[in-house]
């Protein structure tokens, strides 16, 4: 089992982290804005390669440590180390990133990349009229699963055990029980409802986040961006429905005994498909659709607004002037928020609080 977790969770984490500089927009390098024609500069290519190598080496060392622990100690120690290693890995690779971020900033100030380039901003007035995400109607699928799980639980309330297992460790032993009540029985359907809402909200963010057009190459970058948003939106529906369906499995197992191995394999299958799917889209699409080849690439004298000063450490966007709350990441795949906007923080806190509230409320 420990081997499976390594393979399904830790390895994809290493891959996604290591390839990050390769999947960013061509107008950014390690969180620093560059003209897109500089992206293929040999110095930058070398930096990307070094980052990739370092991140893989650190990852391989940690995998080695984890494998040693899994063979020497019991499962509990392995899981604790696994969680710690994940954080250690994220922390170390961020430090590596910062090193390259600083190096890029130095390069940018010494090299004459911006000579003869004109800072320009391009917006498409019809951008928000385009269909950027799949219809919200698709969320009826996870909603049906959620409601069915809920209704099924209420109908079969009598058959639920008097003490409900609420938390398991990885070896399948119960670590926390709750006394039976309607609310406790419905805790998993509540969680499903929360997830469905969360995915709908992410779909909204995908549709509404700021448009970012490369002024040197406007037509292609708009098309790439639309493809980028549509693919993640479809991914959201598929993985979201799978995850919500997955939470119905332990609920059913309260009444009908299920083989633990089958149950765990099911869960791992869903988690695995979700992660691999994300990896696949990241590699084929790139941030903002930068890896989608449309064969229309142009190269002009225009560059985007240099907003480096609003990107703290190259990754945290903090711009009080900008009313945008959601924005595409600079270094990585996906979205981040404008940390200068209180609304973003509020939504963030609510998203964290809801599952905690469900856990407290139902136990």
């Amino acid at each position: 089992m420990s081997f499976l977790i390594l393979l399904l969770i830790f390895i994809p984490l290493i891959i996604i982290t290591s390839i990050t500089p390769y999947i960013t927009r061509k107008t950014e390098s390690f969180g620093v804005l560059i003209p897109s024609n500089v992206y293929h500069n040999p110095i930058l290519q070398k930096l990307r390669k070094q980052y990739l190598q370092l991140s893989i080496i650190v990852g391989v060392i940690l995998v080695g440590v984890l494998l040693a622990i899994s063979s020497l100690f019991n499962e509990e120690t392995f899981y604790a180390t696994f969680i710690i290693s994940t954080f250690v890995y994220i922390f170390i690779t961020f430090a590596i990133y910062l090193y390259f971020h600083k190096k890029m900033k130095q390069l940018k100030s010494t090299e004459k990349w911006f000579e003869k380039k004109r800072e320009t901003i391009v917006v498409d007035t019809n951008f928000y009229k385009e269909k950027k995400v799949v219809s919200y109607l698709w969320f009826i699928l996870p909603l049906i699963i959620t409601i069915s799980t809920g209704i099924w639980s209420i109908i079969n309330y009598d058959q639920f055990p008097d003490r409900l297992p609420m938390q398991y460790n990885m070896s399948g032993e119960v670590t926390r029980y709750a006394d039976k009540s309607i609310v406790a029985v419905l805790s998993l359907p509540f969680l499903q409802l929360f997830l469905t809402g969360l995915f709908m909200f992410i779909n909204y963010v995908i549709a509404k986040s700021k448009q970012q057009i490369d002024p040197a190459n406007p037509e292609e970058s708009i098309e790439q961006n639309l493809i980028f948003r549509r693919r993640w939106s479809v991914y959201l529906i598929v993985s979201g429905t799978l995850l919500v369906a997955m939470f119905a499995v332990p609920q059913v197992s309260f009444i009908y005994e299920m083989n633990l191995t089958i149950m765990l394999s099911l869960i791992f299958a869903v988690v695995g498909i979700t992660l691999l799917g994300a990896l696949l889209i990241t590699i084929t699409t790139g941030q903002g659709g930068s890896r989608v080849k449309l064969g229309k690439t142009k190269d002009g004298d225009l560059i985007n607004r240099d907003d480096d000063r609003y990107w703290k450490l190259g990754v945290f966007y903090f711009n009080p002037e900008d009313p945008a709350i959601w924005i595409e990441k600079r270094f990585g795949s996906g979205w981040t928020m404008n940390f200068a906007r209180p609304q973003g923080w509020l939504i963030f806190i609510v998203i964290i609080l809801i599952p905690i509230a469900i856990a407290i409320f139902t136990s």
Binding site: T120, D124, T125, A324
Partner: protein, 131 residues
């Protein structure tokens, strides 16, 4: 329509925005009744304060190029476009005058100046020259 604004120009963003939208209407890229992004959306995309967009939209509205509805949002006016008034002609002359003066100082011939005007007229009506 693709709006492209020069961030290194001395002309403030809201004036550039107003000019580009008028050019869009002149070239036919922006049609009557076509909706424009909301103040918020445009401010978000340009990463500027919402006041900047508001200023541009107010100018356009006062001149009669756009209408701002509570529900439909911002649209290119469905009424008649503003006409050439006496005031407008006076303004136009005032604005062109220093340009002609400078051209004369620099030794430009009348024909050359007029041919540039001619060229720009054609370019805008064809919907070219977006940058």
């Amino acid at each position: 329509m693709l709006l492209s604004l020069n961030l290194e120009s001395e002309t403030p963003i809201y004036i550039q925005l107003r000019n580009k939208i008028i050019e869009g209407i002149a070239s036919g890229e922006l049609k009557r009744g076509e909706s424009l992004p909301s103040v918020r959306a445009l401010a978000q995309d340009l990463s500027v304060n919402m006041h900047t967009i508001n200023k541009a939209y107010q100018l356009l509205k006062n001149d009669g190029f756009i209408q701002i509805h509570r529900q439909k949002g911002v649209v290119i006016t469905l009424d008649e476009m503003p006409k050439v008034t006496e005031e407008y002609t006076r303004n136009l002359e005032e604005n062109i005058r220093p340009l002609i003066a400078e051209s004369i100082c620099r030794g430009m011939e009348r024909e050359e100046f007029l041919s540039i005007c001619e060229k720009l007229f054609k370019e805008i009506k064809k919907g070219g020259g977006t940058s």
